[in-house]
Symmetry: C2
Subunit: 456 residues, 2 copies
């Protein structure tokens, strides 16, 4: 196969092929090589099982930097290097606990987890009356009753959104900003219904942020099943108070790194194509789908180019971004450095929606001629389950690059399963399928092959 | 919501809607109701966890008949009844074992499972020299060396097929017919490389059949990882013999049943629309994706029609087919009875490719005008992830109905994960996603709503 690809690349078979036929041959070779000989799945197993949860600033976070650098060196990247960045260090100490204080004085345990970046309770915890609100509008109406209480935001992800990320954005504002909105009116803590698509027993964490104008009150997520238990107990007046204990909080920033592996372009080395995922993860599980998957898929681009002898004209960089989950310091630093060097960052692609079966590629650019050219490649990708290359590419880590005019793109996997497991103890290696992960990686590599070939 | 649907159905809102708009409103109500209030997932939990593996003729098989009949009665089906059929009763006794007999005389265990319908070894097992073949062509070339040996078919599922069912059909002939082909030349047993898409440690069973012209020799499947171990040991001459023990075999046929739940048509009760899955499963796991999923999705059609107050013009029948896995007696009996009654079986839909995210609907009919009409509904289904209603519907259970001119249709879920788990110990409830299962059920119900409305 390597010979056939080399012959096609060298133009030896050109008389036999139209350009689209030639592209389709190389795309097939790339996708098949990843399906058959890809290393992404075994690399993900290592990241999940040998490293594990890898919150920025943690010892596992540092280990992940070292190990992904090793993986890219072993794949034959021309250069592998680190980009320093300071990251927030949020630490959870021990197990977060909560219980309903029943009318008879007994406690009934509730499954909760502190939200990332949250300040904790004292070591003794706190007990307060709970006031349930559906949304911010209801909070505003009830603001006079909030002082001294725990505000419980019971806002579900809307199951009607077939694109589950829309439901996530919709409900996400309570996790992100709910604590400070409640603190403004004197609340002592907040409980957020987990951003989970199913009724289940797993609390889902995720980043929150404080508005420094108000007190930094503890913020926790509760499992969807226990959100229903809590709501029902309040409505039936079986309980009015909850006991909460979550020892956690921010420590001073520490040094961490993005990891960059690159194949130097043979003709235009100063034109850079970036592909990445984020190497940090939440601390409750292995960060398999969020975003170990995106990392191993991005590294796989390097591997398959090298193993098939594809020498890109432009520089291809696989980037393991640091600290996407609770600070975005890695993505911010990458764009800062990019703004200072003399290179041209033509396109960046992110995979951070899970390692599920790929169904689309999103592309965004202020220059619609550029995206139109890429959208016209759609038929070449349909044999691999990509319905459409369409508008709407991007991602948190590559977002800061868009100021430089970089075209934003992203892999769009099927989204039905993602919020079953996202940010919870369920985000483990066993919930990734090798074929789905590799099909996604193959499609990414093939897309970047096209971007490199036709420029931008 | 029920009121809106009722108003639409009654034509009260007709002046506001074109027909396609009206259809799109009802389709949305159906899909959303299943996503939000669907019972399919909880019914599947019951079937998997309270009943478990349910091979035809087993006590659990009988329990599944009784419980799915109860479920459909509770959903408000107008009639629920059983159709008697005799089924083969294949029994596995104890754990199947095998080991490589190493050059030093020690045994190295291999993960195997007897194929369904296979005769077993004696209680002591058998030891014989193993001869590996890639395919039937190689068997024919080596036929003189086969006598007294175990033939090992090491034919992998081809990872290049993006539609994994193509790889399954391609490799499936060794599981189905490999034993008799080898027995013809005097083999004493066969070992088949599992029909699994991944390197893993789980043997995958499935039906085989004997050609009665030859000896009924034992047939087992070996895990893909151990197929590689065995092949490597043979090539390196570290071992030449394998010990096999599998106590199993056929017993006399026993009485079993299809389960039928029906909503009687209000205008054309003698026009029957069938929707089904098969209630029997292999014995190694819970039969969650194969085919508990298809059963609960088919029952869900009854539930959502009843709960939304949709009164079909034609009769809708949800059928839990019996014995798809190792005899197809249920599907055969259903078509036999259909050929005798005076009704018109206009369309049958099967869901038997796993409860994964739905991506298409297949339709087949000798009358291309009928399929063209249905294919034109595609835009109504795209919002729910259905890329296309296209040619190629069918399924094992409904297949026998095609002789009556019935249009064949099927749900086409994404196929990447199916052969990770199919017929192995991995086919458990935990590998089904509630949203994926319900989205599939919603799409099925909506499609059948259209079939009922527009006839055939």
């Amino acid at each position: 196969m390597k010979r056939l690809v080399a012959a096609v690349l060298a133009g030896l078979l050109f008389p036999l092929f139209s350009s689209a036929q030639e592209d389709s041959v190389v795309i097939r070779q790339i996708v098949e090589d990843v399906l058959i000989r890809g290393k992404a799945y075994e690399n993900l197993r290592f990241i999940c099982k040998k490293i594990g949860p890898r919150l920025s600033g943690s010892p596992q976070g540092a280990m992940a930097v070292k190990e992904t650098a090793r993986m890219m060196r072993e794949m034959g990247a021309d250069t592998v290097y680190l980009q320093e960045c300071m990251v927030p260090k949020w630490v959870r100490k021990g197990r977060d606990t909560a219980s309903l204080v029943m009318a008879n004085g007994k406690g009934q345990p509730l499954k909760i987890t502190a939200l990332g970046n949250s300040e904790g309770t004292s070591a003794k915890g706190l007990t307060a009356t709970v006031i349930e609100v559906k949304d911010f509008d209801e909070l505003e109406r009830m603001k006079d009753q909030v002082r001294g209480k725990i505000v419980f935001y019971n806002y579900p992800m809307n199951p009607r959104y077939i694109k589950t990320f829309l439901a996530y954005s919709d409900a996400g504002k309570y996790r992100g900003g709910g604590a400070s909105r409640a603190a403004k009116y004197g609340a002592v803590a907040v409980i957020i219904r987990s951003l989970a698509s199913n009724p289940d027993d797993f609390p889902h964490t995720g980043a929150m942020r404080y508005d420094t104008a108000y007190a930094k009150i503890p913020a926790v997520a509760i499992s969807t099943n226990d959100a229903d238990v809590l709501s029902s107990a309040l409505k039936k007046r079986m309980a009015s108070e909850v006991y909460l204990k979550a020892e956690c909080g921010m420590q001073p920033d520490v040094l961490s790194h993005n990891v960059v592996g690159e194949i130097r372009g043979s003709e235009f080395p100063d034109e850079v194509i970036t592909v990445g995922g984020h190497i940090d993860s939440w601390d409750l599980a292995e960060g398999a789908n969020d975003d170990g998957s995106g990392c191993v898929q991005s590294m796989e681009v390097i591997r398959v180019f090298k193993d098939l002898g594809i020498r890109p004209k432009r520089t291809i960089r696989a980037v393991m971004f640091q600290n996407e989950e609770n600070g975005l310091r890695g993505g911010t630093k990458y764009a800062e450095l990019a703004a200072q060097d003399k290179k041209k960052y033509i396109l960046a692609m992110e995979s951070d929606e899970g390692g599920f079966v790929p169904r689309g590629i999103g592309v965004s650019s202020p220059d619609s001629a550029k995206t139109a050219r890429m959208k016209a490649w759609s038929p070449l990708f349909r044999p691999y389950g990509i319905e459409e290359i369409s508008n709407g590419g991007g991602g948190a880590d590559i977002g800061p690059l868009s100021k430089l005019g970089t075209v934003m793109s992203s892999l769009t996997p099927d989204s039905q399963r993602y919020f079953d497991i996202h940010h919870s103890a369920l985000d483990v290696f066993e919930n990734v399928s090798r074929r789905e992960l590799h099909l996604g990686a193959g499609v990414m590599a093939a897309f970047l092959y096209m971007v490199d070939k036709y420029g931008n």
